[in-house]
């Protein structure tokens, strides 16, 4: 399921199309199923890679004559994919990256540089009423090859994100430190394991009920001979006074520099601020999303309340409201540093990074 089969050249045309749609359907089904309890079946890195690979296939196989057509097709597929699992923002982010790649390649083929495009936009807004003059209708012969090459570069970048982040670990962790983390993040795990090769330190993991993913994180860390302690969520403030740094992962980085992270992270951030402990977020760039936090409807995702109050409590179950939210919003004021594959940044710089990765007209798919 979802295996990258390099069968483009062997299958005849109609079967190619069927194969592509089949793969997309399988991917969407995976996304939908990943919405329950323990989180997605694959980590966000794998989801990003899978999305990009699918988009590359779409570019290669779909029928299009100009960049505008391609962008329409990609947008359509993107909308379908994000609708399957709205909380999995990496899918949408990758679609936006690919759209930006297409724009860049088109502009390069046309001969104009992207710089002027962006700077002219204010001037364009005033003079032409906001609509872009470009409608991407010109046909270029090598556009397809260029776009596919650029997407391959994107895939290589995605492959190396975790290693890039882990390489920066020694700059941030000194010996005999006590580091706190919440739940399970593959990025943070790699980060800490890399630092543990050269330095000795102690890690406290908050278990993060009700899914208790912190337990898995603790077992993995202790297997790498890192001194680990597992604490209950309720003890976070109690032990925070002895913690030197808090290093967490996140599900999404929002456009204002805030986080959408696993529930319990806001408490950790507040406790860290109370004790003036730095809060470091390890997040690769593909998690950066152009969404702003709107606390009303689309921000929170809920899963089955039986994780919180099991069915064995039958008599009271029908008379009680039970909530099991999955995410927490952490405002950017509580965050000290973002560590991503392109280096360390303050939360106030996130808006700039976003303008380099995505084009403003694509923000609403």
């Amino acid at each position: 399921m979802g295996q990258l089969v390099n069968s483009d050249n062997r299958m005849p045309g109609a079967d190619k199309e069927a194969d592509l749609t089949e793969r997309i359907e399988a991917f969407l089904a995976d996304l939908k199923r990943g919405g329950c309890g323990t989180g997605p079946i694959r980590g966000s890195g794998e989801t990003a890679r899978e999305t990009t690979a699918l988009l590359r296939k779409v570019t290669a196989q779909a029928r299009w004559s100009s960049a505008g057509d391609l962008m329409e097709i990609i947008r359509k597929e993107g909308r379908r994919m994000t609708a399957a699992q709205p909380s999995e923002t990496t899918v949408g982010n990758m679609v936006l990256r690919v759209l930006k790649i297409i724009r860049e390649e088109y502009a390069r083929s046309r001969g104009s540089s992207e710089e002027t495009d962006q700077q002219e936009s204010l001037h364009k807004l005033l003079t032409s009423g906001g609509l872009s003059e470009e409608n991407f209708r010109q046909h270029f012969v090598h556009l397809k090859a260029n776009v596919i090459e650029a997407i391959n570069e994107l895939l290589t970048e995605l492959d190396g994100t975790t290693d890039n982040i882990a390489m920066q670990a020694l700059e941030h962790i000194h010996s005999n430190e006590v580091i706190m983390t919440v739940g399970r993040s593959r990025t943070v795990e790699a980060f800490l394991k890399d630092a543990a090769r050269k330095r000795k330190f102690h890690v406290i993991v908050a278990e993060c009920a009700p899914f208790c993913q912190g337990h898995e994180m603790a077992t993995n860390l202790s297997k790498a001979s890192i001194e680990t302690t597992v604490i209950a969520d309720a003890a976070i403030f109690a032990v925070m006074s002895r913690v030197n740094k808090v290093i967490i992962g996140t599900q999404t980085v929002l456009a204002n520099g805030g986080l959408r992270a696993v529930n319990g992270t806001h408490t950790v951030a507040l406790a860290a601020r109370h004790h003036s402990t730095p809060l470091i977020v390890c997040a690769p760039m593909f998690k950066l999303s152009p969404q702003f936090p709107n606390e009303e409807d689309t921000f929170h995702k809920f899963v089955s309340p039986h994780e919180v109050l099991p069915f064995t409590e039958g008599e009271i179950l029908s008379k009680v409201n039970v909530h099991c939210p999955v995410f927490d919003y952490v405002p950017p004021e509580l965050i000290t540093l973002f560590i991503s594959n392109i280096g360390g940044n303050a939360p106030s710089y996130i808006y700039r990074l976003m303008s380099e990765l995505y084009h403003p007209e694509d923000h609403d798919l």
């Binding site: 001194e227 002895r242 408490t267 009271i316 009680v320 409201n321």
Partner: protein, 514 residues
Amino acid sequence: NEGKELSKEEKQRLRKQKKQQKKQKERKNEKSETEKEKTPVSLLPPPRPVATQKAPSALPAPASAPIPVPASAPFHSSPAPSPADKPAKSKAELKAERRARQETDRAAKQPGSSSSGIKTKVPLSELNPVVKRLPEHVQVDDPAVVKRLAKKLERQQIPLRSDYGYKVSLFSHLHQYSRKAPLTQQLSIPSTVIHPSIVRLGLQYSQGIVAGSNARSVALLHAFKQVIRDYTTPPNEELSRDLVNKLKPYISFLNQCRPLSASMGNAIKYIKKEISNIPSQCKEEEAKTKLLTCIDRYIEEKIVLAAKAISKYAIEKISDGDVILVYGCSSLVNNILCEAFEKSRKFRVIVVDSRPRLEGREALRRLVQRGISCTYVLISALSYILPEVSKVFLGAHALLANGYVMSRVGTSQIALVARTFNVPVLVCCETYKFCEKVQTDSFVSNELDDPDDLMVTRKGKTQLENWQDVSSLGLLNLVYDVTPPDFVDLVITDLGMIPCTSVPVVLRVKNLDQ
């Protein structure tokens, strides 16, 4: 005749006295004092009249109260002159003793003037040097202390409980027991030393069947009532002294089963005081009934009536349309909510719970039974649910003398996040839980519960199953934490609604009453 008799002892005493005074004079002259309003000349004036009274008491006096007097006069005098003060101290000491004795005599003559006697007593007693010994259960990393405890328990014929599992290094000074190995397994079957109701109580504590500070105190008092009922004074012994000695091994046993809470400590102090105050000519039956009524009255006053008074105050703070957040299962807070519901206040409750104890489910059951509409979340969803909340009611295990609230672990987190969202935090606590300890963090004095409780089996897999085999993995199951007073807006006690920082005032008033 008298003169002659007196003269021999008197002479000896006088000689001793003069020797002492000479020594002190030399010491004083060495140090060359300036602020001596009491000149060396005046050292000699208390020859006979003082000496006769003072001689027997002069020797024990320095031993019992070395520092009280200079401290009582100008309390904020700097400690610098104190070493030089020694010779004057003894004299001032003598003067104070004399004064105190005169006061008590006067007080004894006038039965109505008990207050003045107490007034002079307070400065002396409260400013005694704080030679408090650290309780054993926070010195587990000191082998000398552990040996001393083992010897004491052996003397009292109580088995020593051994620690279990790998302890996190930050907490190596605390005990960590396993629930699967209760102390009672090591007791021989007809245990003559420990009363059976105490054995049962100890088992209930260590298995967590009786939990919550009010419940534990009430259970303790009921068990002691049974002990008193079954007690007979052995011949040639006084009830007031022997019963207290009988209770000591019971208390050690209960301490081994589960460390005593602050409320239990206060209850035990009260009982011991009541027993010691029994006059020796009182008959045994009479004494026993007196003690039983004392205990009943304590429970009635300090727990039941206090709960009613607190409910009365707290209900004023609950208005219609409120959304109230509670944490865990506090008997007092549940009581308040049920009373408010009966007085037809319209509110709804959000119960926050935490692993691994999950006490909130018990509170949820009790509230739902009464018909209160409830919501239930885990503590990690706190930031999600707090914007809906209008007030937070918390229970306390103890209130410390520096204003910190010691309560179930997680309380400080709730107070912290509530403060961020500007939601008022009200702590409800009876005055018998106030204690004189001071603490600033949750490490120095805490309780470690069974670490195996943190394991959980999800989808057939227990991640931490073999945590004992992995040397670098530790599990930490804390029971209590302390909340700083700036997170708490109000404390509701049976004496009224006070700010967190007024706890030492209440303690002082209580001491005066006693």
